[in-house]
């Protein structure tokens, strides 16, 4: 129970960390302190956290443009993440990647991709390597309902299945590709139904319930680790914010009604998990509040660190392109 308690509390902490991180991102965009694009993961925290809770540190993940939740869920450093999205030299990618390209190869975060479904073939390759190297590392490739319509998605799933690769395709179905509902773009009722075509299990799970995601992911991970091949896991979830911060200034037409947003807010993943912890006697409300306070301080610290950090120098521009210098 003690180990379980630790696990459940860590899930809470990481969900809160992602929430507070992205709330800060929203503020930074509004204050014009954060330039470029940013896609908030608020409302979807249970998906990345539940899935990563089923992984080891040496397992791999690949992500997408909604890109802060996955690395934090995998155990990434919020200081380095915050510094990166502010373009600072102390960031994960020395300021060269920004919001959509966080990565930490030292703990298996193989990078977030701005191009939809682009991380899936990469995930398949990492899974091929696991098999060839004879280790039992597994891969979770996160993608959205929109990305599920990319050809790369089909190719990746087929390859993973024919070679029985240790990979979990985790569709974070937040139901909207920018402003288009997935029922208008996906020919089947559930994206997990597509698993039939790849001869792999397709599982639909409540993406607002971190324990449900964790349990489904743990099963898929067990299957992958033991050489039985991939799983397509669909977590039905919802993003509270628009597709990207600032989009509201461009959109001329509402694509979802407030009642719908409110309905989903009632199923908030952090609230659901907090209530469960208290009801089950895993933690007291005071302990839950203490985690929130600690997380708020951690994000404040990360922001302070990022703000105080230097920008990269002009001479840093051309480094990192090649593993060795090339003169052309």
């Amino acid at each position: 129970m003690n180990d379980d308690r630790k696990k459940y509390m860590r899930m809470l902490r990481r969900m809160m960390l992602i929430r507070r991180f992205d709330e800060t991102v929203v503020d930074l965009v509004q204050a014009a302190e954060l330039v470029g694009m940013a896609h908030a993961y608020i409302g979807e925290e249970a998906v990345a956290v539940g899935a990563c809770a089923a992984l080891r540190d040496d397992d791999y993940i690949t992500g997408n443009h909604r890109s802060h939740g996955h690395p934090i869920a995998k155990g990434g450093d919020v200081r380095k993440a915050m510094a990166e999205i502010l373009g600072k030299a102390t960031g994960y990618c020395k300021g060269k990647g920004g919001s959509m390209h966080l990565a930490d190869f030292s703990i298996g975060i193989l990078g977030e991709s701005g191009i939809l479904a682009s991380g899936l073939p990469v995930g398949v390759g990492a899974a091929m390597a696991s098999k060839m190297q004879g280790n039992d590392r597994v891969v979770v490739s996160f993608f959205g309902d929109g990305a599920s319509n990319q050809g790369a998605c089909h190719e990746a799933m087929n390859m993973a299945s024919i070679w029985k690769l240790p990979i979990i395709f985790l569709c974070e179905n937040n139901q909207y590709a920018v402003t288009t509902h997935f029922h208008d773009t996906v020919a089947v009722e559930n994206i997990s139904d597509r698993a039939v075509a790849y001869n792999m299990p397709g599982v639909l799970v409540d993406g607002q319930d971190v324990l449900a995601v964790y349990e489904a992911a743990a099963q898929a991970v067990q299957r992958a680790r033991s050489g039985q091949g991939p799983t397509l896991l669909e977590a039905r979830t919802y993003r509270y914010q628009d597709h990207s911060e600032g989009l509201v200034r461009i959109l001329r037409e509402s694509y979802r009604d407030e009642a719908e947003v409110e309905r989903w807010r009632q199923r908030d993943p952090i609230k659901i998990h907090s209530s469960w912890l208290v009801e089950q006697g895993v933690a007291s409300q005071a302990e839950v509040d203490a985690v929130q306070a600690e997380v708020t301080a951690a994000i404040e610290d990360a922001l302070e660190f990022a703000r105080q950090s230097p920008y990269p120098e002009p001479e840093d521009l051309l480094t990192d392109l090649f593993a060795d210098p090339v003169t052309t």
């Binding site: 791999y60 190869f105 390597a129 790369a152 392109l321």
Partner: protein, 320 residues
């Protein structure tokens, strides 16, 4: 030294490097059978390290990135014209990943891209798309011509810790030449003077090297001494060897089977115009494919790409 074909030289390089390093593996379409004439038989020695893929270029060219990111050294084989199907993975991932992630990861990948043209494959298959990859930072671009270069450059490509686009001109597959038996890796960024001369410099890319060497023989009979240079790698490009030659000859003809606009010939011409302008005694000539797709008809196809006559004509133009 043995005299072997270009295709066999590539096969030797693969075999030697796969023996030397267990993390090297091959993937591509029907390569166990050896559809491209290079990899056949390798699966007998290397088993599962020769992977036949589905017809999913986007998928497996991207899988190479993921495998390389976690310690493997994939070699991917395909046709150059199929690269278009895989552009997102080649550019958004292979080329950009290292830079975008602040140098956190090396991607030792070789994309072997066969180029077929000149034997009526028609527009979808006949292509020489390397110039558009030269325009993508983060990729090394290699185009071997002789069997010895094919072997030596492929060995270097496999050992390189960056994504390398290795363009093989299939018109050269049967070309025989002396290839060292021992372990000779040819460094990138070093052009090779294939024929010395004093009146004009001909820089020739890919299969055009053979045409250029033939043209040089013909020109010799007319009393024109042509120096023929093969850059061998386009990224990195050896400026010095080309500039030194132009300094000697004062004339430059660049022969490139790619389409004219923004070709490698254009890039080399621009480089020499800028860095070697005062050596030039005549305007630079580019002999390239027309800005036109490859037609199927045998009556039309030869009109598109460079040949010996076009090279000779261009050389004469620089002598006027």
């Amino acid at each position: 030294m043995a005299e072997i074909t270009y295709a066999d030289a590539l096969n030797q390089a693969l075999k030697e490097e796969m023996r030397a390093d267990e993390s090297v593996f091959l993937m591509g379409e029907s390569i166990r059978g050896g559809i491209y004439g290079v990899t056949g038989g390798l699966s007998q020695e290397f088993g599962d390290r020769v992977v036949d893929t589905p017809l999913s270029e986007l998928g497996f060219m991207g899988a190479a990135v993921g495998a390389a990111a976690v310690g493997m050294r994939p070699i991917v084989q395909s046709l150059a014209s199929f690269l278009y199907v895989a552009m997102d993975q080649l550019i958004s991932q292979a080329a950009k990943m290292r830079f975008m992630f602040g140098g956190q990861v090396d991607l030792p990948i070789v994309y072997r891209c066969g180029m077929i043209y000149g034997n009526n494959p028609a527009a979808h298959h006949a292509d020489r798309p390397y110039p558009m990859f030269v325009n993508v930072p983060g990729l090394k671009i290699v185009i071997p011509t002789t069997p010895a270069d094919a072997k030596g450059l492929l060995k270097t490509a496999i050992r390189d810790n960056n994504p390398v686009m290795f363009f093989e001109d299939n018109n050269l597959s049967g070309w025989r030449g002396e290839v060292p038996d021992d372990d000779v890796a040819i460094p990138f960024g070093v052009a090779d003077v294939k024929r010395e001369g004093s009146d004009v410099t001909i820089v020739a890319i890919a299969g055009m090297l053979r045409r250029a060497l033939e043209a040089a023989e013909t020109l010799d009979e007319d009393g024109i001494s042509a120096e023929v240079i093969d850059p061998r790698t386009i990224v990195p490009l050896d400026h010095e060897t080309i500039l030194k030659s132009v300094e000697k000859t004062g004339r430059l003809v660049v022969v490139d089977p790619a389409h004219k606009s923004c070709s490698v010939a254009s890039e080399i011409s621009a480089m020499v115009s800028q860095e070697g302008f005062w050596s030039l005694q005549a305007p630079i000539e580019r002999v390239t494919s027309l800005d036109c797709h490859f037609p199927f008809s045998p009556a039309l196809e030869p009109l598109v790409f460079p040949n010996e006559d076009k090279i000779i004509e261009a050389v004469h133009a620089t002598m006027e």
